[in-house]
Point group: C2
Chain length 233, copies 2
């Protein structure tokens, strides 16, 4: 399997190769864009996979930690550092790749809305964002990986503050609610949502308001401990 990242980082020495076994890190990079949960995909470049898409990732180098390898893919493909990144699952079916044995350690990452560059009408032609609800055909088992990541994300909404990772440093409660609604795929009650989220005691009001059209401006909030994902309840 030829990986875009291998080209981007030609100096990597794969941890394996001689016997045809590779260990890769594959990253499901989520963001909220166009009122959808979207993932960043790169075009497959192997001739037999023309027209298919795949997850950003790369071969784990001899000296690489798995997390480091995932971070590198994230930096190379999405151009971001320091975002939320979590290991998901390791896929090792000997037949998952027809050419060679590839064990994929999958990760998922969350990119804040304001840092989701690349893609879209004016974006880099080589990578793009896609709605998870409407994915193109992906190589190998990558669609399974995306689905597993989505399920994990949905589950974590319930018992952690992970959703806050999609937002910039300060944000309105309506923006936060919208993140939840998009990921869960359902409308939430505004009053109950605000009550619940403020009861977590991990948000603080700022003095600022956001003016955003011909209506009442919204209060901005910040996380008490930015970047930290907490378990709740």
């Amino acid at each position: 399997m030829n990986r875009t990242l291998t080209k981007v980082l030609p100096n990597r020495i794969p941890a394996q190769g001689a016997l045809g076994l590779d260990i890769t890190a594959e990253v499901v990079i989520f963001t909220i864009r166009q009122n959808e949960l979207q993932v960043l995909l790169v075009p497959a470049d192997h001739h037999s996979q023309r027209g298919l898409w795949m997850l950003p990732g790369g071969v784990v180098g001899w000296e690489d930690d798995l997390d480091t390898c995932a971070s590198r893919a994230l930096a190379a493909q999405a151009g971001v550092h320091g975002v939320y990144l979590e290991q998901l699952y390791t896929f090792g079916d000997p037949d998952r790749c027809p050419d060679r044995r590839v064990i994929a350690v999958s990760y998922y990452a969350l990119i804040p809305i304001h840092r989701a560059h690349f893609g879209g009408p004016k974006g880099d032609r080589h990578i793009d964002w896609f709605s998870v609800a409407n994915l193109p055909t992906l190589v190998l088992d990558h669609a399974t990986i995306v689905e597993l990541a989505r399920e994990r994300l949905v589950a974590k909404l319930d018992y952690s503050t992970i959703a806050f990772q999609f937002l910039p440093e300060s944000f309105t409660l309506s923006e936060l609610q919208s993140v939840y609604e998009i990921i869960l795929g359902e409308q939430l009650d505004k009053r109950n949502f605000r009550k619940r989220v403020l009861a977590l005691k991990c948000l603080q009001q700022t003095a600022e308001l956001r003016r955003n059209g011909s209506h009442r401006p919204a209060r901005l909030y910040q996380l008490c401990t930015p970047g930290k994902v907490e378990y709740i309840k």
Copy 2:
């Protein structure tokens, strides 16, 4: 790192070897014994690790699925087939093993009380059960792996019927309660426990009673769908 399992299964061809990279599957095998949550450990046999213990596991063979490899370790070390087995996390720090590069895909398994043989005063001298609350010194990062598995198990008690996997086909509600109490490390109220667990609608009364001493016999229950772990609430 020399693995007991490698000896047990000398016919396995490691997926790697030439460049000194191995992929192993390591299994945290839990059971309830002696009113404790215990794990099965094997003595480390590498000379520099004399006296230390390690998790059962084995090198992933070229043709092995990861799950298959974990199952094989489970069968070889604990002598059981078909028990609950779930992938946990993949550890890939390049420095986790001083000798060579080893990427460990960890699993955890639950063995029903009545099938936990091996170990103990009369058991095989080469492997033994240990209380997770009082582990001997383990090789490498194996203590971290056990702790992660324990945390996952505790978390799953809350939102799944995973605890039922520790019990035989039919069991009393007191036995079930005891499993919860041991894993959680706290006493539970008998009436509330029974109410909650029966409200799950996944247990059925049997016609049988268990006579177990000079007191009222206990009703035996069975899972409606044995072997199936369900998510709850």
